[in-house]
């Protein structure tokens, strides 16, 4: 899978109804492309964290940040450069696994620190998490065996501890 150049933004928003629609609507009407999106509450129940990968070619990053910042419910925005952050993504996949290929697939699962979630007579459901490139590699290595279903979460990210600069939250 060709990796498009992208920016990762970590956006803290008020945990209120409709906030995701406001963010998604802004991206749609300004013509900014979202590569991936993950949303979940933070340890502070008033806030949710949106991790966005934005197509770097669709708009200048400064415009994306400034437009996002105009949304009243957006509390803070931080860009995470890949070198300054730890990124993780979860993949869950159901892959064809007949007698002769099952062992090869199990080897890949072990190499990539994956887990078997469910076993069928001719299929395996496995999960694996890692940095986006590693997840890409795992997915492409499984593909020749025949993928029945696949779901990726979109990545989440936090600043790398060694270079974690200012505070993310402002409460």
């Amino acid at each position: 899978m060709a990796v498009k150049p992208h920016h990762t933004l970590v956006v803290l928003v008020e945990n209120k109804a409709g906030v995701l629609a406001r963010v998604a609507g802004l991206f749609a009407r300004r013509g900014f492309n979202i590569e991936s999106l993950a949303v979940a509450p933070t340890d502070d129940s008033r806030l949710s964290r949106i991790t966005l990968a934005v197509d770097a070619e669709s708009a200048p990053l400064e415009q994306v940040i400034n437009q996002l910042d105009k949304l009243i419910n957006v509390v803070s925005i931080r860009e995470l450069a890949p070198s300054e952050s730890v990124e993780r993504e979860l993949l869950v996949v159901t892959v064809n696994a007949t007698g002769e290929t099952r062992g090869q697939i199990m080897d890949l699962v072990r190499i990539f620190d994956g887990r078997v979630l469910n076993v069928g007579p001719d299929r395996l459901m496995v999960s694996m998490s890692g940095g986006p490139n590693r997840v890409d590699d795992f997915e492409s290595l499984l593909r020749p065996y025949g993928i029945a279903e696949l779901q990726r979460t979109g990545k989440v990210a936090l600043p790398r501890l060694a270079s974690a600069g200012g505070e993310v939250g402002e409460f």
């Binding site: 629609a21 609507g25 400034n66 910042d69 009243i72 957006v74 509390v75």
Partner: protein, 579 residues
């Protein structure tokens, strides 16, 4: 103190200093109209919800206070979407209250239900759906705060019926005075960055061919006085965009007037040849820049705007300053003074001479009416301008009449020009004029309208007459959707498609009289001035004058859409200019 939601809504509006609201009741908002009877707030009953929104806009633009409109759910809400979008584009502070079906019915496709917050999300600065009566005082407080601070804009508050209905237990609340705002993500920046101001001041002093490009932010931040002091200090010519007509007086020797698609030659060309554009509260709109890549190619850019998202959106700035326009200009004055003020300015004699030469050679011109010929709209506007007080408020719709009004009026006071700039909403003039007159009853208010525009919102003249808010309307009736006709003539080989309207259907004079107005029909140049004088004498009701103008008349100069500003088309009587 126990109140119900409807009472709390009125009390919250009163607490914000609201004196007048424009609205129309209906099912979902009905309970809120009952406590209105006991309120100090004046309600103006409109004939269409779009009128309520544009009246609130006219009021806000004339007074600087937020305009308030109240409408019901469903069609009431959808009818006010156009004014919301208009206010969003032109940064007009509005608070719009919409009724909503009871909370329990939301999502069931109930009668007159629509997803108002969803529909208006992209045309408001922010919107709220009130979930609990107890939140109402805080939400109204926050709504006014958001609408009027930072870059102003429209805020909508959607209130389910159960919250304002005293018979519903959900409507009860304990009244409280909100203590500040509860908006952790909203911190508009108003103070300029000192380093950027210093860098801008150096560019200003050194510039040989500078132009001040002043936009609507001047009026929004009450910065007209600061702009005057700044321009006079540095002696730099000023263009005033469509949104800032009146923000710098047309009679001032440094004023070059309106730039853009129908701007005058000197305003357009001075920006094209400038080595520095001092951009104050303007946003490089496509109607100003023409083809962006060819706009002011040699100019460095100073860009002062309160909205950081405008900086670098269209044209990258050499010095970007995110700040309130007035505070930013005051800081620029100080910084230029620190460098030596007027003495420190580069030699610009050549530049001023070049500009003076353009002004002499390429003034705004039109062919006067030949004997027996049709009235010229420019002549009507000159007569109207000369016969009315200097501080008359002029409102316009959108199209040829709007451009002629902006070109031929002399705006010498801020807040005397009210029009739909960004959205280009036909039908804006009549309701906006009513709102402006409601806010400034001491002023004469004229709506300059086109015949196409007038037919979109004329019914609000009934509102004007029943509510005793007398305005005056000059219809420049050319029996066409004139601007579209002009484009079809110039760019579609005179293939006229669906632009003819008829001068007589409707009978504008009869229609205006039916709505309670004094009305006149004028066809000859010598009748124009007496008709205007007569209209100016009438103060107990609205007046409509149907001016029958030349259907062939076009707006010049014109920069064709998408063309470079260097390719400006002048009036055919003027020699083609060589830049």
């Amino acid at each position: 103190m126990k109140l119900n939601g409807g009472q709390a809504l009125m009390r919250s509006l009163e607490r914000q200093g609201v004196e007048i609201v424009f609205g129309l009741p209906g099912g979902a908002i009905l309970p809120a109209y009952d406590p209105l009877i006991d309120s100090t707030i004046r309600h103006v009953l409109v004939r269409h919800e779009q009128g309520a929104g544009h009246m609130a806009q006219g009021y806000a633009q004339a007074t600087g206070q937020p305009g308030v409109a109240i409408v019901t759910s469903g069609p009431g809400a959808t009818n006010i979407v156009t004014p919301l979008c208009d206010a969003y584009m032109d940064s007009v502070p509005l608070v719009v209250i919409t009724g909503q079906v009871p909370y329990a019915a939301i999502g069931t496709d109930a009668f007159q239900e629509c997803d108002t917050t969803g529909i208006t999300m992209s045309v408001t600065k922010h919107n709220f759906l009130v979930a609990d009566a107890q939140d109402l005082p805080q939400v109204i407080h926050d709504a006014f705060h958001i609408a009027t601070t930072g870059r102003p804009g429209p805020v909508l508050v959607d209130i389910p019926k159960c919250i304002v209905d005293p018979r519903n237990p959900r409507s009860g609340l304990e009244w409280y005075e909100p203590d500040g705002v509860d908006l952790p993500g909203y911190r508009p920046r108003t103070e300029p960055d000192a380093g950027a101001i210093a860098a801008a001041a150096e560019l200003i002093c050194a510039a040989r061919r500078p132009v001040i490009y002043s936009g609507g932010g001047i009026l929004k931040s009450r910065a007209a006085d600061a702009l005057m002091r700044f321009a006079e200090l540095v002696q730099i010519p000023v263009v005033t965009t469509l949104m800032n007509r009146g923000g710098f007086p047309d009679d001032h020797p440094l004023c070059l007037g309106m730039p853009g698609m129908h701007g005058n030659y000197t305003a357009v060309t001075s920006m094209q040849r400038a080595d520095l554009l001092i951009t104050l509260g303007a946003r490089f709109d496509d109607r100003v820049t023409g083809k962006v890549g060819a706009f002011a190619p040699d100019a460095k850019i100073i860009h002062l705007d309160i909205d950081p998202a405008e900086l670098g959106k269209v044209r990258q700035a050499d010095v970007a300053i995110a700040a309130d326009c007035r505070l930013g200009i005051e800081a620029l004055i100080e910084a230029v003074d620190a460098l030596g003020g007027a003495e420190a300015q580069a030699d610009r004699r050549q530049w001023h001479e070049t500009i003076a030469d353009w002004r002499r050679r390429y003034p705004l011109v039109y062919e006067p009416t030949e004997p027996g010929g049709a009235l010229k709209p420019q002549f009507v506007l000159e007569q109207l301008r000369d016969a009315t007080p200097d501080d008359t408020i002029v409102c316009a719709g959108v199209g040829q009449h709007q451009m002629w009004a902006s070109q031929y009026w002399r705006f010498n006071h801020p807040y005397t020009w009210i029009n739909s700039g960004g959205l280009g909403t036909m039908g804006y003039a009549v309701p906006a004029a009513i709102g402006a007159k409601a806010g400034r009853p001491d002023r004469m208010v004229w709506a300059v309208d086109g015949d196409g525009c007038f037919q979109m919102t004329a019914q609000e003249l009934v509102t004007a007459n029943t509510e005793r808010i007398p305005i005056k309307v000059a219809i420049l009736n050319n029996a066409y959707l004139g601007m579209v006709r002009q484009w079809q003539e110039m760019f579609y080989e005179e293939r006229y498609s669906e632009v003819y309207l008829s001068p007589d259907l409707p009978d504008y004079k009869g229609w205006a009289e039916a709505m309670g107005c004094e009305a006149m029909r004028i066809e000859n140049p010598d009748e124009v001035r007496p008709a205007i004088d007569k209209a100016n004498e009438i103060d107990d009701r609205s007046v409509v004058i149907d001016f029958r103008i030349d259907t062939q008349e076009k707006v010049f100069p014109m920069v064709p859409a998408g063309a470079s500003n260097d390719d400006i088309v002048l009036d055919p009587s003027q020699h083609p200019p060589r830049p």
